[in-house]
Amino acid sequence: MLAPLSWLKEYVDIKLTPKELGEKLTEVGLGVEKITKTSDDTIFELEITPNRPDLLSIIGITREIAAIENQPAGKAGKNIKYPKFKTQLKPTAKVLPLTIKTDSKINPRFTGIIISGVKVGESPKWLKDRLEKMGQRPINNIVDITNYVMLELGNPIHAFDYDKIAEHIMIVSQTKGGEKFESVDGVTYHLPKDTVVISDKEKIIDLCGIKGGRNTGTYEDTKTIFIRVPVEISNLIRRTSLSLGLRSEASSIFERGVNAGGTIDALKRTVDLVLELAGGEVASELYDIKKEYFKPWKLELRVKRLNQILGIEIPTKKILEILGSLNLSPIHLPGERKRHLEGETVIECAIPTYRNDLKIEEDLIEEIARIYGYNNFPKTMPGGTIPTKQIPYFKDYRLDEKVKNILKASGFSEIYTYSLISEKDLIEAGINSQNVLRVDNPVSRDFEYLRPTLKTNLLKALSQNKSNFEKINLFELGKVYNGKNLDEAEENYFLSGISNSKSYFEVKGMLEKIFEDLGIKEDPTRYIEILNERIFFELNYSELIKKINPDKKFIPLPKYPPIVEDLSIISDAKTSEIIDEIKKQSSIIVNVSLLDQFEDSRTFHIVYQDENKNLTGEEVAKIREKLLKSLKEKFTARLRE
């Protein structure tokens, strides 16, 4: 939302400098994105939160400024200079016929009036300038006035060419779906089902709350206009707007909830300006078909509760002052009207219809806090007890840290890559995209599928680094998403890495070390893959950490010395088979490891140890003989001479 300082100043006295005002506006909730100085003005660019449709109007912003500047309320709404109206909304010319059929379930309020004898033409300079400052393109005096009043007061308005409304009948209804509609700006839309539209006897003439129709728009030859100021249903407008991909200033106001009590004022303001700038006379009674009388509602604030939530004691006088400056008509409920706890101070507010965001006590508490100024609050640390029970979804980050430190110590660097990958990535990895979870509305085709492996990104990362580095070792600990369709969707942390410089056994040893540190007894071989010159590993980390055995127990040092020997064995058997076979021979063989490998022979390092006594050479010799015999029988292995 844009707000020129010159326009704001018409309704409120501003003592703050533009910079100070910008800072305060941000603090109270109108995020200032930019302040632009032009030759004759200062334009604020404000980010308006979805709960404040009233701030999509200049008058709404001036109300905030009045509160920031701490201007006393006087009578409700009177701390700003609200426009004064001339028109009585009574016909002065011949009354023209119009039939309106509406339904309060889809159109809670339909306010309007006919003006005949208008002269459509260019708007005066002041009006065009103002619209241009608001980022709008002037069209003609009638259209410009409706836009101007919407920007000023926050109620969207549409002017129809009365003579083009077939049989002067307006019917508000919902579409069946598929109807064609051409908007004032000449774009044709196929309307979705349940769109709220106005039709005359022949055709759809208005896409309610979003855009008027080209067939009944105001052009040079228009003589008589019907001005409509409606209240629309937020959800219905939002659905149509999203489904057509069509946003307008009007639709963003209706989506957030228009000021239902503001239609008459907006109509009066429009009529005044039309009569002044385009001539003509009021040619109908006021139409105001509504579901209910839209009146301010009451909301109570308990001072004790306020102070409890905020953590500071704000004096009741100050609270009343703030609520007053926001035009919330606060009444300090005295004596017998204390309806809550004994002795509790209660303030009753009357919430104006433009403040749809104020519905519960907490909303009022925020009003006090933001105008008091968040940056004026002291800072405290929470009291109470620290919860000790382990929470659901608990995650132990120290485990990740432990694992990542081993990878780091082994020369691997950590990367973070996108979870979303392209179909091309999948094809290159030989994965059928039919079996991969997919995003319906990807930001681009490059980021369409949820990665079923970390491999594709690691391979890309490796080749990206090739031009600058010779030895590249990378890893990622990140989510991987599996399942052929959403019913089977599963997400797990995967730990994967790639290296173009480590040997198979270095990578295997690193994984063995990780497993050992986590107390997991498992052979990592199945997680490692050889891809040309590169070694890749990938494992389901979420599954892995379920197997963790954190209990470590000290094993006393042996009291008797071991006997150690190295045996060189010639055999075709797998190393692990030989080691297992050797270990099986005796309980006093406490460790067997592969020491060396040369041509067809492998040297095993064997540690013999008895925990109860000193071993003798003869005892060891017996076991050696047994194990050699057994290796010979099983693997036709022999000792290298």
């Binding site: 905020l310 979804y393 980050y397 020369g411 660097s413 950590e414 973070y416 890893f475 959403l486």
Partner: protein
């Protein structure tokens, strides 16, 4: 005899002390302890000592031998140290050392560990939740109904529901880690203090300060009597611990349907140092020319959210916040583009 032994000892020790290199020490050793050395010769004489004193003299001769050997050993060690010292002087020690070939932990992880540590000190535990999330936890449990306009501020990536029983729009990629509020709180009673680090997804065009994937650390606490000032204090404590005591912060009002009052936290932009302009005169695009970076939206948990998880909003209150972790990392290291965090270039990673 005893006298001779003492003399040998004294002269050997003084010679050893004065010796300056190994060769000299070798000669001294030979001179006293060698096959025809002075002490060795004297040992042969011991048989000539009268039998009643032989034991005593023998003991003394052994002591002298031990002393000479020990002194010699110490001197050899000392000389060898000195020699290696002078060898060191002969190499170019100014050449760089050979570093062990260790890798690097990503800056995001490093900052995340800090965040987890800081919160642990004030009693927050870490939870981890799904990225493939239901519309209910991501929006509805957070007081954002289906047609709520606040959904526009978090454009959602929807998952393909073909071949599944799930209705379109029901399962999404979570847009915020706040989705974990409902999941955790519906399972435990207050007091709760939880942080949830994790990745989020939004339909957003990528630029220097936005990404369609980004990290947040959600946090929430509910107890009797949790106050807005506690929220301000906690944010202040955490951000100053993370970014340094001199960090400048400011708070502003904002609206998220799941908090009331709603708070936004801004931190002075570390890229332009709050000046909104870079030294070369260009505007700072990282903070959108404002000098401040939005870092931690927060607020007091809305009564409807407490109600949805079965808490009584009249008895307990709480606050929630979301730290923009990706942005925090870039701010801490003065990186001017969020995309650097997902770039696997080792020239970036090796700096951390």
């Amino acid at each position: 005899m005893e006298e001779e032994l003492m003399q040998i000892k004294n002269s050997a020790v003084s010679m050893i002390i004065e010796a300056t290199d190994q060769k000299e020490l070798e000669e001294i050793k030979l001179q006293f302890l060698g096959r025809s050395g002075k002490l060795t010769s004297l040992f042969k004489e011991i048989t000539k000592v009268p039998i009643e004193r032989r034991r005593e003299v023998g003991q003394l001769a052994n002591d002298v031998k031990n002393i000479i050997e020990e002194t010699l050993r110490l001197a050899q060690d000392k000389v060898s140290d000195q020699e290696s010292q002078s060898r060191k002087e002969s190499i170019d020690v100014t050449a760089p050392g050979i570093k062990p070939p260790i890798g690097h932990i990503h800056p995001m992880t490093q900052v995340l560990y800090d965040v987890v540590d800081i919160f642990k000190k004030i009693g927050f535990q870490v939870a981890d939740g799904p990225e493939i999330e239901s519309d209910y936890y991501n929006f509805e449990a957070l007081n954002i109904a289906k047609d709520h306009p606040a959904r526009d501020t978090q454009q959602t990536l929807y998952l393909d529901t073909r071949n599944s029983k799930i209705n379109p729009g029901e399962i999404i990629l979570r847009t915020q880690t706040s989705a974990m509020q409902g999941r955790v709180m519906e399972k435990v009673k207050p007091p709760v203090r939880v942080i949830v680090p994790g990745k989020n997804f939004r339909y957003e065009q990528v630029d220097a300060s936005h990404g369609f994937e980004f990290w947040q650390v959600e946090g929430f606490m509910v107890d009797e009597n949790v106050r807005l000032t506690d929220l301000f204090g906690t944010i202040d404590y955490v951000l100053k611990k993370l970014m340094g005591e001199s960090t400048k912060l400011k708070f502003a009002t904002t609206n998220f349907p799941f908090v009331e009052p709603g708070v936004d936290t801004y931190i002075e932009c570390t890229v332009c140092k709050g000046k909104a302009r870079l030294p070369d005169g260009q505007g700072c695009s990282f903070c959108k020319h404002s000098g401040w970076s939005e870092i931690m939206p927060a607020g007091m948990i809305h009564p409807n959210v407490l109600k949805a998880v079965g808490y009584d909003s009249q008895k307990v209150s709480g606050f929630a916040f979301a730290i923009g972790l990706s942005r925090l990392v870039t701010l801490r290291y003065q990186m001017d583009d969020l995309r650097l965090l997902t770039n696997p270039d080792l020239r970036i990673l090796n700096q951390f």
